[in-house]
C-alpha cells in the first residue's frame, strides 16, 4: 500500500482542544455555585409572593449554565457542541410548551 499521503493530510482539523482551564477559574465557578445554593435557600425562607418560583428557577438556571460552560468546557468547545447543548434544551422546551398549551387552555370554555 503505497499512497500514504492521501490519508495523512486531511485530519489536521480534528486536533483536540487542549485548552487547560486555569485553577482560579474553577475555584471561582465553585464559589459562585456555593453562593447560588445559599441564595436559593435564603430566598425560599422569605415570602416573595409570585416571585418565589421564578427566582428559584433563575438561580438554578444560572448555576447549571456555569457548570455547563466552565466545568463541562463548552465555552471552549466546537460550534457543534453548542448546537447540541442548546438544541437539547430547546427540544425539552417543545415538550413543555405544547403540553402546557393543552393544560393551561382547558378552562377557556367555548360554551
Amino acid at each position: 500500500m503505497a499512497d500514504i499521503s492521501v490519508t495523512e493530510h486531511h485530519h489536521s482539523d480534528h486536533a483536540p482542544t487542549h485548552h487547560v482551564t486555569p485553577l482560579w477559574q474553577y475555584l471561582l465557578v465553585f464559589f459562585a455555585l456555593a453562593v447560588g445554593t445559599v441564595l436559593t435557600v435564603v430566598a425560599s425562607r422569605f415570602d416573595l409572593g409570585m416571585w418565589n418560583t421564578p427566582i428559584a428557577l433563575f438561580i438554578a438556571t444560572v448555576k447549571a449554565t456555569l457548570v455547563i460552560l466552565f466545568f463541562m468546557h463548552v465555552i471552549h468547545s466546537t460550534r457543534l457542541t453548542w448546537v447540541v447543548v442548546i438544541g437539547s434544551f430547546l427540544w425539552l422546551g417543545v415538550l413543555f410548551v405544547l403540553t402546557f398549551a393543552d393544560y393551561l387552555t382547558r378552562s377557556w370554555s367555548l360554551y
Binding site: F30, L33, A34, V41, I68, H73, Y103
Partner: protein, 234 residues
C-alpha cells in the same frame, strides 16, 4: 491484493498510540468523536429527566397547595448539605480532568478518589433521608403511605412523593453508575493510562458527572423549597 495489505493501516502511523483504535485516523479524531458521543448521550439524558420534570410541573401547577405542603415535609437542611457536597465533587472532577490534561498522574488519582468520596457522602445522606421517609409513611402505595396529617391534601401529597422517589431514585441510580465508573477510572489513572495526549475518557467521565450534578441543582429547589402561596410554612 495480498494478505499483507490487510493490516497495513497499523504501519501508517509510526508513533502509534496504544489507545488509538484502528478505525480512527488519529487521536484527535478519536477525542472529538468520543466527546461528541457523550454530549449526544447527555442530550438523551436531558430529555429523560426533562420528561419527568414536565409531568412534575403539570401537577405542580394543578395542585400548588399540596406541592408546598409535601415539600415542607422534606428536610431542606439535608438537601442543602447534599447540594454543596455534590458541587464539591463536581469541582474535584473538573480538577481531575485538569490534572490528566497536565499529565499529573497522582493528581488525577487523588482528585478522582475525592470525587468518589463526595459522591459516596451524597448517597449516604440520601439513603438516610429515604429511611426517614419510609419511617414517616411517605412512600407511595396502599400499605406504605400512612401520612394523614392533612387529609384534604393527602392524595396529592402522595402524588408528589411518587415524583420525589422517581426523580431522586433515578438521580441516585445515575450516581451509583458514576461511582462504579470512577472506581474503574481510578484504577486506569493509577496505571498511568491518561496524559496530555490521551485524556478523552476522563473528560467524558467528567461530562457525565457534571450532568448528574446539574440534575440535582434543579431537583433541590423543586423538591425541598416550594413556597406555599398561602404563606403557611412547616
Amino acid at each position: 491484493m495480498s494478505d499483507t495489505t490487510l493490516h497495513a493501516h497499523a504501519d501508517e502511523h509510526p508513533p502509534h498510540h496504544p489507545f488509538l483504535q484502528h478505525h480512527f485516523e488519529d487521536l484527535g479524531q478519536q477525542h472529538e468523536a468520543s466527546t461528541l458521543g457523550m454530549w449526544m448521550f447527555l442530550t438523551t439524558e436531558i430529555l429523560f429527566f426533562g420528561g419527568v420534570l414536565c409531568a412534575y410541573w403539570i401537577y405542580r401547577v394543578m395542585y400548588p397547595a399540596a406541592w408546598a405542603e409535601a415539600a415542607s415535609l422534606q428536610n431542606w437542611q439535608m438537601g442543602a448539605i447534599n447540594t454543596i457536597v455534590l458541587i464539591i465533587s463536581s469541582l474535584t472532577m473538573a480538577l481531575a480532568v485538569r490534572a490528566s490534561q497536565l499529565g499529573q498522574r497522582m493528581g488525577t488519582v487523588v482528585m478522582l478518589v475525592l470525587t468518589l468520596l463526595f459522591g459516596g457522602i451524597f448517597l449516604g445522606v440520601k439513603g438516610y433521608e429515604y429511611s426517614v421517609h419510609f419511617h414517616e409513611g411517605l412512600f407511595p402505595g396502599a400499605q406504605t403511605f400512612t401520612w394523614h396529617e392533612n387529609p384534604a391534601l393527602a392524595p396529592q401529597v402522595q402524588l408528589f412523593m411518587a415524583f420525589y422517589f422517581t426523580m431522586t431514585g433515578l438521580h441516585a441510580i445515575h450516581m451509583v453508575i458514576g461511582a462504579g465508573l470512577l472506581l474503574w477510572f481510578i484504577r486506569r489513572a493509577w496505571r498511568g493510562d491518561f496524559g496530555p495526549e490521551y485524556y478523552a475518557p476522563v473528560e467524558i467521565m467528567g461530562l457525565y458527572w457534571h450532568f448528574v450534578d446539574i440534575v440535582w441543582i434543579f431537583l433541590f429547589p423543586f423538591l425541598y423549597l416550594i413556597h406555599s402561596a398561602g404563606g403557611h410554612h412547616g
